[in-house]
């Protein structure tokens, strides 16, 4: 019997992620139960103050705002990304289309956000055009509100949603659609009853790739949001770097971590999906990602 090299191959990544990912999370857990230091850091006196602060209704508004923005922006992103992925998968020039979708990825996203400010501002391109066409009498305030935050978030995460959808739909056997049409299904019916159930893994991946970063968004609400667009990510950063309440920042981070992790696990279970990536959809017999039967 030969010795299996699996453990050897797995060791570097296991060790790396344990030390540089799991251990830091564990420290966050510990810090959230400690007293903030006078000027940053922590004092080793256990307390539940950070959690009491979170329970305060003032935070509820930020949480609610964050959830609303995240759900809204994710829904819009997916609604746009689905037809895009479908079109790309059916096209013959996939590499070109992929490049078109990817190009914005390769410029710094902060610079792109600034370009949006130049477009949407009161004195921006869009208002110039609207004024020139006589559609409006005075500049429309597009920026610095929740709508602007959602628009730029959709813009930022669209490619992240399109790519997994495209790769899943690409593996879909389109003759099934034609079969459904032959059996009398309408076009829309064929798509919703045959295509969508078959690519739900891709939809799930796209959802996670969009919803999670938006849930922790920091830069976008900071730059294009107004006085009412404060989100949880801004709260964490401000507590850590401005108010210097490390335990509070840790506690909020921990709550987000728990919510996303549990949410993702439930979603995966409910969908019976195996793992991220969508690639596995093509396989006849998917294997559970974690804690599955095997």
């Amino acid at each position: 019997m030969r010795r299996e090299p699996g453990g050897l191959y797995a060791a570097p990544s296991t060790i790396w992620l344990t030390v540089f990912f799991l251990a830091p999370l564990a420290i966050i857990v510990a810090y959230s139960f400690l007293t903030p230091g006078v000027r940053g850091g922590v004092e080793w006196k256990p307390t539940l103050d950070a959690y009491r602060a979170i329970a305060n209704p003032t935070f509820a508004k930020v949480t609610l705002n964050t959830i609303l923005v995240a759900i809204g922006a994710t829904a819009i992103t997916l609604l746009i990304a689905l037809p895009c992925g479908y079109y790309m998968a059916r096209s013959e020039r996939q590499t070109l289309l992929l490049m078109l979708v990817m190009i914005p990825f390769w410029t710094n996203f902060l610079i792109r956000i600034y370009a949006w400010i130049a477009i949407l501002g009161n004195e921006g391109f869009l208002n110039d055009i609207l004024l020139a066409l006589g559609l409006v009498d005075e500049s429309v305030q597009f920026l610095y509100n929740r709508g602007a935050v959602m628009l730029v978030l959709v813009y930022t995460y669209l490619p992240y949603a399109i790519l997994p959808l495209y790769s899943t739909i690409d593996k879909f056997d389109f003759s099934l659609l034609e079969a459904a049409r032959d059996l009398g299904a309408s076009k829309l019916g064929a798509i919703t009853r045959v295509l969508l159930p078959n690519v739900k893994g891709g939809i799930l991946t796209a959802f996670l790739f969009t919803f999670i970063p938006i849930f922790g968004a920091y830069a976008v609400p900071l730059l294009v949001g107004g006085t009412e667009s404060y989100m949880l990510g801004n709260l964490i950063a401000d507590e850590l770097t401005k108010s210097r309440d490390w335990p509070l920042a840790s506690a909020i981070s921990l709550v987000i971590t728990l919510v996303t992790t549990i949410g993702v696990l439930l979603l995966l279970r409910a969908n019976g999906a195996s793992t991220l990536g969508g690639a596995r959809e093509a396989k006849a017999e998917p294997e559970p990602a974690f804690g599955g039967a095997r």
Partner: protein, 343 residues
């Protein structure tokens, strides 16, 4: 094929890492406000002395301080504002400075130095610039206002005004508008100030310390609380007369930014050389010209080619921000959090 590719990638990586770490020339690590010293001034220093200056930038005292305490303490020189100088002295983060080793130290305006309360006798800090955030108004869009903080009560300008995303500046403005000190520790006064800001808030587009100047220059914002140098550097030169920059009559928070040497700095000698260079009249004049600010360097004033946007007499109404201490800091933090979160 694959193996050769991997080896090539590896070699390229090693080469890049080596070139980034290499270069054994004399180095000096400077942690400074973004755009505070023009790049060519630093290049000239390098040419003169052979010392390579590695500059990293920050946009707020908090950002700088957190980086230092969080483990990013490999810098030689930092440029904190006065309140942070005293905090950092108290925390033992600074190296004492022997001003007698700075040939050009005597150039500093004694009147400006005399106002310093955060580091009496300048044992840890060497003044660089003294300034304050004020209010800039676009005259072509706004009229019939007073030089007062009350301009932020104008609901007809809603959607066109911003204040800084800076707790001390905004609460300081509110405290001043009520006639209190910008360092007032009284809970009742802080609460009153919070209500003032809550009253202003519906008229503000946002709290912004990062890009207000650009948006002000493009005509997007008409009234902004902010630093004169940001606004004027961004505003097209030909139209600068359109800008009315003022310090409100009620007074305002102000600051002195100073060079400090971090405790444990490896390149103390070079740090002295750099600070002394910055105190040289011709260099100080170049910096002040660039920022369009008054210089605390007396001989530099005669060498300046640009008229500063205000002079030291205008700062007479200002009050230095000081370290608040633990209790008051918590009250300020809580008030600011309530304002930001919006309850």
């Amino acid at each position: 094929m694959m193996k050769r590719l991997m080896i090539a990638a590896f070699a390229a990586t090693i080469g890049l890492v080596a070139s980034a770490c290499g270069g054994s020339s004399e180095k000096l690590y400077l942690f400074n406000w973004i755009y505070y010293i023009p790049e060519d001034v630093i290049e000239d220093f390098s040419k003169e002395t052979g010392i390579q200056v590695i500059v990293d930038s920050y946009a707020s005292n908090e950002e700088m301080y957190n980086k230092i305490v969080g483990g990013g303490d490999g810098y030689d020189i930092v440029v904190p504002s006065g309140d942070y100088v005293s905090i950092m002295i108290a925390e033992g983060l600074l190296e004492p400075i022997d001003t007698s080793r700075l040939a050009n130290y005597g150039n500093l305006d004694p009147a400006a130095v005399a106002r310093i309360g955060f580091d009496p006798g300048n044992r840890y800090s060497v003044p660089f610039m003294m300034a304050a955030a004020g209010v800039s108004v676009n005259r072509t869009k706004v009229s019939g206002y007073e030089h007062s903080w009350s301009v932020f009560d104008r609901s007809d300008l809603g959607g066109r005004m911003t204040m800084l995303d800076d707790m001390r500046e905004v609460l300081g403005a509110a405290l001043k508008s009520l006639g209190y000190s910008v360092n007032d520790p009284d809970p009742a006064h802080i609460e009153e100030a919070r209500r003032v800001v809550e009253r202003w808030k519906p008229n503000l587009v946002k709290f912004d310390a990062e890009s207000f100047a650009k948006s002000f220059a493009s005509g997007e914002f008409w009234v902004v609380q902010g630093y004169a140098e940001n606004v004027f550097i961004e505003y097209p030169e030909a139209r600068r007369a359109e800008v009315d920059f003022f310090f409100p009559k009620e007074g305002m928070p102000m600051y002195m930014d100073s060079f400090c040497v971090l405790r444990g700095a490896k390149n103390v000698e070079r740090a002295y050389a750099f600070i002394d260079y910055m105190l040289r009249p011709d260099v100080a004049a170049r910096v002040a010209d660039y920022l369009m600010l008054p210089s605390p360097n007396v001989p530099a004033r005669a060498l300046m080619k640009v008229e500063p946007n205000y002079d030291f007499d205008d700062l007479a109404r200002g009050e230095f921000k000081e370290d608040l201490g633990r209790e008051a800091l918590k009250l300020y933090n809580d008030a600011w959090r309530r304002i930001r979160v919006g309850n």
